[in-house]
Structure formats: structure tokens, C-alpha cells
Amino acid sequence: MEELRELAKKLLQEKQVNAVVGYECDRRGVRPAFVDDPAGCDRLVFDHRCVQNLPAYLSPRRTNVAGLGRLAVVVKQCDARAVAGLIRESQLKRENLVLIGVRCGGVAANPNESRELGAETLALRCYGCSGTETAMADYVVGEPKTVPAAGGDRDARLAEIEKMSPEERLALWKEWLSRCTRCHACRQVCPMCFCERCVAEKTQPNWIESSPHIQGNFSWNVTRALHLAGRCVDCGECERACPAQIPLGLLNRKLAKIMSARYGFAVTDDPSTPAPIGSYRLDDGQEFIL
């Protein structure tokens, strides 16, 4: 922790950056922090409650954050996938950014988690993670840590749904999506949803109806998931942000599996990895095509 604070202080004092984006404690747990003076660096913390994906603030859509100037950002290895994605998709220039990589021993599902980190509290995305720092980092802080053993099979819930009949699956999704009020919080918190005008907001033509009836909700959620195919960085923020408790992570996870099975593709923290949509191979599978 001291290491992180000292580094942040140094970066600010030496004017290498105008602000450091990290984590701080609040009344209830941990939340994102924006520190622009060296004195404030003592607020910075890093522990298993640092759930949020801070690169979400690097999208050019976040004009207030962009107004701070040059930034240093605290990133876990998984968060760095979002930085890589933003660079890959021309939203960000690596040289305009200082990345402080943290050695992470896994995070909880919830930033307000009061319990210790363990099988029960570990976030799904940390299952099987090695907890090492990202190769993209300019600085690495913290001692090496081990991620607790997972509390089960991450994909158990996926497998359960795959076993169902199409009718059961449709009924399930209808039940879940019937709660969607189209607040689009899933989109707003997503580091990879950076469009100036979301397709869901286009009315000429109105492909995706904005009304929260199931038809609109279905189109929206299918399209959101598809647009993230091969791009989703698996931070789980969409599901955490959903005030309607819809298990959106399932869709993203399903797509990640499809991408991996069909195209051997995994989202990495290397910006030079090509995006799978927008590339193709002559021998891509076509067993479904007559």
C-alpha cells in the first residue's frame, strides 16, 4: 500500500501525470478515487475489495475524467485487458497513459464485502486466475499474492442452462429479461462500450426498440452481447451494475466460450492481438451452413 502511495505521490510531484486513478475507502467499502494532488495519495488503497474496472474511465466518452489531463491508472491484470482493447480500437494511445500494475490476489464479487477473501466471496472472474501483474504496466507494486481456490466450477450455471430444452431456455431468458427496464447501466459501466451513439439509441431506423417490453429487451441484450463478442474483458461490471439483477455475465461468458471453441480466441492484455470479429480464416467452421 505504501509502495502504491509513494509511487502515486512521485508521479504527481514530478508532474509525470496530472491525476492518479485508483481506489479509496468510503463509508461502505471501496470505490474509485481520482487523486490530483500529492497530499491526497494517502487515500489510495488496494485490497480484495478493489473490484471496479478502472480503465472504464479511460473511454473518451468520460469527458470529465479526460479533462483531468494525463492519467496514471491502477490496473489489475484483468483490467489491463480493457486498456489493450481501447488501444486496439483506437480509443486510447498507450503513450498518453501511465499504468500502475498491481499484484492482485483476487477480488471479491462486491466492493463492500466485509468478509475475508475466500472461496465464498471470490469473484467469478478470478476463478483460475494466477493473479500476476500485467505485462503492459509501467510500474508494478505489491507483493506477489495467491488467489484463493475457487468455490466451485465457474461455468456450472452455464452448463445447467445448456442442458435445458430450447423452450425452457427461452422461458428462462424471458423471465430474466422481463425485469430489464432499459436503464442501460450495463452499457454505461462497460469499458468496451464506448460508442458515441449506441445502436440502441438510434431511431432511424429503430432496430432496437427502446421500450422495456420483452421484444426490445431481447434485441438489446442479444445485440449488446454480440457487440462484445471477442471484446468483452470479463470484468463483470455489467452484471454488478444491473439494478434488475439480470445475470448478464452469462451471455458474455457464453460468447467467450464460443469464441474460444470456434476460433481459438481469448481476450488478452496484449493490444496487438487481432479482434476475432473483423478477421477470418478460410477454413472457419461452417457446419451450420447448407
Binding site: S90, E196, R197, K202, W207, S279
Partner: protein, 672 residues
């Protein structure tokens, strides 16, 4: 509110028999936005078109939907008619109720209902059509021809004679290609060199042809009318401006035992050499891999090992330190005429789909040769001075077996296509052999004789009847050494008898394949190619010398196996296409291309990733003070071909394909 006119065509009985056209017209008339809806016997006839023109004026129509045949048939007709009446032609669309309806259904009620649905799609779509105007692109009226064989030579000369500049790039040190290796040509048996050499000289002397021999295309940028081509001029080790082609260097080169490529390995050349005496340009090239001086340098020997050529060169034209150089040429059109290679049928193969013919001992039995080698043996300027002599012992073969279709028409082991020229040149070979070795016996194993072409079948008949070639229908299973002869084991499928012949020599008519490196060239040019690497034409019948990339054309055997007459005809066809393209300073094209919404584009460049043509460029949006706001996508109007893959990929739908915009498609789907 739209003012749409709907015109339902009976196409005589073709549509009217199964579709109740009057009912369709009536139903369409009830759709919102439709102000005029009629049916007529023949819409494409003059009175039919007049009907449309009149209605456009009378009802002040802002959209015309013609329910008739396929738009591939008459879209242009009706758009022209609309334009003649003052309506933007892109506000006229067709609904296909003939091919897609009346011709494939019998039940009148069902067909009528479907026709209504099909026309309704288009009525709804056209409400969102925008008037479009054709795009004009400046044309750089110079052409690049890649490949200096007979096709490239013909194309270059035709274009240059037509008054336009041509850059001719040839990767070998001389132009001429395979034709320069041939002895005589079918079906007239005129001497290949005699008809080719004057054309080669003409190229060299033509004021509008810039010949870049021993050069290759490095990269291609741009688009029709505006290509920018980077060309690598490979180091000849000769200062071309100084060399006068005296030949002293060649004469004095100590290394004289290098198998000559031009002689197909049947003769030798020096390390510094001119491939053949009539070479154009007549300037030697130093083969650094075989030069003693360079071999010494490679080994790290400090002392200069050789250098005789430089010593004897009176003009000091030899430059051992010459490097590859690059030049960039701006051209408006490109013709690809890279020709072919023969299928190497030895055991080792470079591709999984090729299997070779190990059983024929090619490469191990010296008297088993291929067709081009036979050409060299028969050529008066060849290694034997035109005498047919065996490579192994120099004896005159008294019995030669010719095998056709080696690698061709063989799905299992080679290529499934027919190489087209082999039937003819084998017949020619038997004749040349007969002329030179009167008591020699030529035996031909064939699958079928394909001699379509002017004078071609007569030619084959002459080989059989006058040159007494024995044609056996069947395949040969193996070639083995038998003393100093070759045992040919095969079968005569007409008699059903196995055949065993001891031949003095065997000539294999091996398949034609595109040149190595064709796929990398095709990728540089964004031209598609088939499984075998032959370049794809835009349409096999109607656009046989164009490619799918506008401004790039194909001639000769790089597109498919071709003989000389075909190659020359194709070359002239490309030249005429290019001259047509160059007849205007600007190029007019259909405006059905993509366009970016600058306000909502976020610049993620997914469109750039999927564009098959590289039509997406980067555009900097700046404020009034010149500060960069964002970098977004922009479509190069000359490059975009209008596939629309960008639009389907764009997450925010900030790129629209005119003619097939999201609003248009939505409207059609909405009418389901």
C-alpha cells in the same frame, strides 16, 4: 409523405399467367404513400416505359417501383426511363415477381399473395431511397502491365499504340516469357522466335513504353484511376546506362557450367549471362548465387576471388555493389499477365493438394523430359541446334512416347482442370519429331483429344495421318529403366489390352500452373484467386478480363490455362478495356458506396478491419481552431465497391451503404 408510383408488368403471359397483376396493382395502390398503381402487358416495351415517364410527370412521383422481372434484367432500363422523365434514377427500383414468383409457383392465389409481398417490400424500401448522383474519380491515364510474356507484350503495345503510357514490369532479365522458348507454334508451325522477337524489339523501342526488366511489384496502393505502385528493380550488378550489350563479360566468365533456365536445364550458361541471344533488353545479369566473386564474399574471403567480367568491360558497366532500388509509379490501371509454370511432377511437392508422379521417374531418369524441354530440343537455337537428341547419351531417339494429361484432369493426384494446350503441343511435337527424325516413331497416350479451335482438329489429324503418330487411348502406370531404354507400362483402353513399350525417350505433357508467387501478388492487388492460384475474373462470361477490383485486369495464363492465340486475344481485350477507361479524364461510377456519419462515428475502425478493399481511411475532425477532436473513419469513394460489410459490422451503425441503407432494409422487413 411519399408520392410513389407502382407499375406491375404482366410480361406477356410470363407473369400474368400465375399472378393476378391487376389485383397486385390495386393492393399496392392502397398502401400509404402510393399515389399511382397500374398494371400493363409489357412494362419494358416503349409504350410501357412511356407509361412510367408520363406518370412521373403527371403525378409528380418521387419514387417508382416496377414489379416485373429480375433487376439484373431491367433495372438499368427502368432507371434510364425514370431519369428521362426527370426523376433521379436511384429513386426507381424493381420488385422481382417473375423469376422469384410467377415462374416458380403454380397456384394463382398463392403467387398473387407472394407478389404483393415482394412488391410491398420494395414500396416500403423506396420510401427511404435518396436521390444519388454518380461519382467522378480522376484517372491517371497510364497503365502498368505486370509480366512481359506474349500477353504482357501485346497488352503493352496495344495501349501504347492507343496513345497512352505503359510501364511494363518483367521479373526476368528479358521479356519474352515462355513463348521465346518455343520452337514452332501450333497450328501453323510458324517459328515462335520469328513472330515474337519483332514484338519484343517494338516494346523496347516504343516511346510510350517504359520497360522495367528484372523488376518486381513490391506494393500497390490506391484504387482505380489512382494506383500507386512501388516497384523493386533488382540488382543486375550492371549499370544499365553504361552497358552496350557487347557480350565481352559473358564470354570471359570462367563459370560456364550453370544449367540454363532458358534451356530448361538442357544447356549451360555463364554466371554473368544473357538468357538468350535475342533478349530484350540485351543486357546481361549477374547471377550472384553462382558467381565466384560473390561466393567468395559469402564465405568471408577477403581477397576478391574473380572479377574478370569487370576487367574486360570496356565501359566499366559492371557494379558488384549494386543494390536493389525502388521506384514508384502512378498509374490508372493494372494488367496482370504473369503467365504460367509447368507442374513439377517429381516426388517433392510444395502443396498438400499436389502429389506428383513419382512412378514416372521424372528427375531421376534423364530421358524422361517435359514438354518445354522437348521444345528446346526441337528449337534451332536450342542446346542441340535443333537436332532431337537424348539428354542422357546424345543419341537420336527412334521411339518417343508422349504422355498427355500429366497432372491435368486428375482429381486424385494433381489438378482437376484441363491444361488446354497439351493436346495441341503434343501433336505439334510428334510432327516436329517426324520432320527431324523420319524413321522415328511417335506414340501418344491420351485421355481425350481436345482440339477445339480454328484449324486445331485438322492439325491433330495431320499429326496422325501425315506424321504417322500412333495415338493410344489410355494411361501409363509406370516408367522404368530398361537398359538404355525406358519401359512404358500402360493400357490401351480401346482394345482393352495392356501395352508395354520400350521407348528411347518419354515426353510428359505436364499441367499448367500459375507462376509461383501469384498469390502474394494477388494479395497486394486485392484480386481473388482460386484453389490453384489462378486469378479470378469478375465474371466468367461477361467480364472475362476484369477482376473484382476495379481497374485491375487479367490476361493470359495467370487466369487459367491459355494458348498463345487466347492469351493475345485476352491481352488485346484488356488493352481495349484500359483504353476505354482512359478515354475520359474522369471515371464515372455508381454511387452505391458506403458513407460515414461523422457525428456518431467513434473511430473504432472495425470497418477498416473488415473492408476487403482497404477503402476505409482515417479522417481527423478538428475544431475551428484546428485542435484535433477525434479521428474517425472515412470511405475512399474510388476504392469502395459497395459490399456493405462495414455497415453490418459497425456497432453504432455510423457507416451507411447507399442503396441499401439500414432505413431501407428496415422498411422492407417492417413490411413483412
Amino acid at each position: 409523405m411519399s408520392r410513389i408510383g407502382v407499375f406491375i408488368c404482366h410480361c406477356g403471359e410470363n407473369i400474368g399467367r400465375t399472378v393476378d397483376c391487376a389485383q397486385v396493382a390495386q393492393a399496392m395502390g392502397e398502401l400509404p404513400g402510393v399515389v399511382h398503381s397500374v398494371d400493363y402487358k409489357y412494362m419494358c416495351s416503349d409504350p410501357g416505359q412511356a407509361l412510367i415517364k408520363q406518370a412521373i410527370k403527371e403525378h409528380n412521383l418521387d419514387g417508382v417501383v416496377v414489379g416485373a422481372c429480375s433487376p439484373h434484367m431491367h433495372e438499368k432500363t427502368f432507371r434510364k426511363a425514370a431519369a428521362a422523365a426527370g426523376l433521379n434514377p436511384y429513386l426507381c427500383e424493381m420488385a422481382n415477381i417473375r423469376e422469384h414468383c410467377s415462374w416458380i409457383h403454380e397456384d394463382r392465389a398463392e403467387a398473387t399473395e407472394k407478389a404483393k409481398g415482394l412488391v410491398r417490400f420494395i414500396v416500403e424500401k423506396i420510401k427511404y431511397n435518396r436521390p444519388l448522383s454518380n461519382i467522378f474519380i480522376p484517372v491517371n491515364r497510364r497503365a502498368l502491365v505486370i509480366g512481359g510474356g506474349i500477353a504482357g507484350i501485346q497488352a503493352a503495345l496495344d495501349i501504347a499504340d492507343g496513345g497512352r503510357e505503359v510501364i511494363l514490369v518483367e521479373k526476368e532479365s528479358s521479356i519474352g516469357g515462355h513463348m521465346s522458348q518455343l520452337s514452332e507454334t501450333f497450328p501453323t508451325l510458324d517459328c515462335s522466335q520469328c513472330i515474337l522477337t519483332p514484338r519484343m524489339v517494338e516494346v523496347a523501342q516504343h516511346p510510350r513504353i517504359k520497360l522495367l526488366a528484372y523488376s518486381e511489384v513490391e506494393s500497390v496502393d490506391g484504387y482505380i484511376g489512382n494506383f500507386e505502385v512501388k516497384i523493386r528493380q533488382k540488382a543486375r550488378s550492371i549499370d544499365v546506362s553504361k552497358c552496350n550489350g557487347c557480350g565481352e563479360c559473358t564470354k570471359n566468365c570462367p563459370n560456364k557450367k550453370i544449367p540454363s533456365e532458358f534451356e530448361q536445364g538442357l544447356g549451360f550458361r555463364t554466371a554473368i549471362y544473357v538468357p538468350f541471344p535475342q533478349a530484350v533488353p540485351n543486357i546481361p545479369v549477374l547471377d550472384r548465387d553462382n558467381c565466384a566473386l560473390f561466393k567468395g564474399r559469402a564465405k568471408g574471403v577477403k581477397k576478391q576471388v574473380c572479377g574478370k567480367c569487370a576487367t574486360v568491360c570496356g565501359r566499366r558497366a559492371i557494379d558488384f555493389d549494386q543494390q536493389d532500388s525502388f521506384i514508384t509509379e502512378k498509374v490508372g490501371a493494372i494488367i496482370v499477365a504473369t503467365g504460367y509454370q509447368l507442374y513439377w511432377i517429381g516426388k517433392e511437392q510444395e502443396s498438400e493438394i499436389l502429389h506428383g508422379y513419382g512412378e514416372y521417374g521424372y528427375g531421376t531418369i534423364p530421358d524422361v523430359i517435359d514438354g518445354l524441354q522437348f521444345e528446346r530440343l526441337a528449337s534451332a537455337s536450342g542446346p542441340t541446334g535443333g537436332k532431337i537428341l537424348r539428354p542422357s547419351d546424345g543419341k537420336e531417339p527412334k521411339k518417343i512416347v508422349f504422355l498427355q494429361c500429366i497432372g491435368s484432369r486428375d482429381r486424385a493426384k494433381g489438378m482437376e482442370y484441363c491444361s488446354k494446350i497439351c493436346c495441341m503441343y503434343v501433336a505439334k511435337h510428334t510432327m516436329l519429331y517426324h520432320h527431324k527424325v523420319h524413321d522415328g516413331k511417335a506414340i501418344v497416350f491420351y485421355m481425350d483429344i481436345r482440339a477445339g479451335g480454328k484449324g486445331y482438329d485438322e492439325f491433330v489429324r495431320r499429326a496422325i495421318e501425315e506424321s504417322h503418330a500412333l495415338y493410344l487411348r489410355g494411361r501409363v502406370s509406370s516408367l522404368t529403366r530398361n537398359g538404355d531404354t525406358i519401359r512404358v507400362q500402360g493400357v490401351d483402353t480401346l482394345s482393352g489390352e495392356p501395352v508395354s513399350i520400350d521407348a528411347d525417350m518419354v515426353v510428359l505433357a505436364t499441367a499448367m500452373r500459375p507462376q509461383p508467387g501469384i498469390t502474394s501478388l494477388a494479395q497486394k492487388l486485392s484480386v481473388s484467386y482460386d484453389l490453384h492460384g489462378f486469378l479470378n475474373e469478375a465474371h466468367p462470361k461477361l467480364r472475362p478480363v476484369e477482376t473484382n477490383t476495379a481497374g485491375i485486369f487479367v490476361a493470359g495464363a495467370c487466369q487459367a490455362p491459355r494458348d498463345i492465340p487466347d492469351s493475345v486475344a485476352m491481352a488485346s481485350a484488356t488493352a481495349s478495356k484500359v483504353l476505354g477507361l482512359f478515354s475520359n479524364e474522369q471515371l464515372e461510377r455508381e454511387p452505391l458506396i458506403a458513407r460515414v456519419d461523422r457525428q456518431t462515428c467513434t473511430g473504432c475502425f472495425h470497418c477498416e478491419r473488415v473492408c476487403p478493399y482497404g477503402a476505409v481511411e482515417r479522417f481527423e475532425v478538428k475544431d475551428r481552431k484546428g485542435n484535433l477532436i477525434k479521428v474517425i473513419a472515412e470511405v475512399n469513394q474510388g476504392v469502395c465497391q459497395g459490399c456493405g460489410t462495414c455497415q453490418a459490422t459497425c456497432p453504432s451503425k455510423s457507416i451507411e451503404l447507399d442503396g441499401f441503407t439500414d432505413e431501407q432494409i428496415f422498411a422492407a422487413v417492417n413490411a413483412l
